[in-house]
Symmetry: C2
Subunit: 201 residues, 2 copies
DNA sequence: CTCGCTCTTGTACATCTGTACAAGATTCGT
DNA sequence: ACGAATCTTGTACAGATGTACAAGAGCGAG
């Protein structure tokens, strides 16, 4: 991963490449393209098998572009992570808007969860990154964005003390759906959420 | 991963190594040592970065031992997976015994979950494999062992229709504890489980 | 224009990886 | 005893990988 390298005196011009065609400059677009490509590669092969070359190929860019913008592989993956966090943030904001205008927030919430799972690939990436946070502290921000964001979202609708359990329930239900490849049991989930949020007599 | 290899005529004796000391033979022990080493390596670096050499080093065996018993890397990792499945099976059986004699099954269940999480490393591995099942069908058996095992376990104590929700809740709670590195909120989990299992009036 | 900066691309290379395999060591049936 | 099967270990090698870097292209300031 980070092999030792003995200091070598500057190599002589190894190769003289002839006049090269170049695509127009657009650093911002390249950064974005690389970040989203990271997520796609992670979705396919997992974080551990994500490589510079796979990302470059996926983004349709030469290998050198990856190391130019993200000097190290960790930087590259971190860029993907940052992008995922932004996507998640946006997702949570849209959930917030949706819930605010729903007549039955519980039903709407379960509906949102089901819709989220419809994009299997994206959900898989985010859960993979989420779980990887158990090992890699760099990934904690994503986990916290999700957990705290969802928890904060719920606190507008249910007793604050109940929110953690509801989040756990939803998280577990999503995890199971992903892992088994089955669809979410929306009806069951709705009644479970209602039970968790009904104030005890 | 599986590079093409042109058929090469048998290489001449590349090297002549002198008389080598050998450890006593014990194939079964080696298979076991390799399988558990796989799990340890997976816990540290994830499935994707698990290599023959890392496993061999962790098991204290020479590289050749890995390929002798498990010809391919997939075989090696599958062996770890099989081992994990057995561990999980045993764990579930022990839970079953424990619950059978508990005066308050709900409290006992939450206690078992907390105890399970005490071994962070092991829990992390199993959840990583669990989630990896979302991408890799080979890993489904582990996921199903856990899901169905736990669900079946619960059905002795709660209404069958409530079991899935309780499993989801517990799964989500464990995932969150792993991901955030915090301890389980056992009190909150107990009341949540009770709410999910209390028959509606 | 020309200098100097940023961006683009191709390529080099040390190291790691999966896997093959030869040469010994041990065990066991005969 | 002895030969075959099994196990152990070291080593080889082709390909993949992270990263460095040189050569060139585009572009703005003076």
């Amino acid at each position: 991963m980070t092999p030792d390298r003995r200091p070598s005196e500057p190599r002589p011009a190894d190769t003289v490449a002839a006049g090269r065609p170049q695509r127009p400059r657009d650093p911002q677009a390249r950064r974005r393209a690389l970040a989203t490509a990271v997520l796609e590669v992670v979705a396919e092969v997992g974080i551990g098998r994500t490589t510079h070359r796979a990302v470059a190929a996926r983004a349709g860019l030469p290998l050198g572009a990856t190391t130019y913008y993200f000097p190290t592989l960790d930087d590259l993956i971190a860029a993907g992570l940052r992008h995922a966090t932004e996507l998640l943030d946006a997702e949570l904001r849209s959930w917030s808007d949706r819930l605010a205008t729903a007549p039955d927030p519980t039903a709407a919430l379960v509906q949102l969860v089901a819709a989220y799972l419809a994009d299997r690939q994206r959900a898989t990436i985010e859960y993979e990154l989420y779980l990887a946070a158990a090992r890699d502290l760099t990934l904690r921000p994503l986990a916290e964005t999700w957990l705290h964001g969802l928890r904060g979202l719920l606190e507008a609708y249910v007793d604050g003390a109940d929110a953690p359990a509801v989040v756990a329930l939803l998280d577990g239900a999503m995890l199971q759906a992903l892992v088994t490849g089955t669809d979410l049991d929306t009806a069951g989930l709705r009644t479970a959420v209602r039970r968790l949020t009904r104030r005890p007599g």
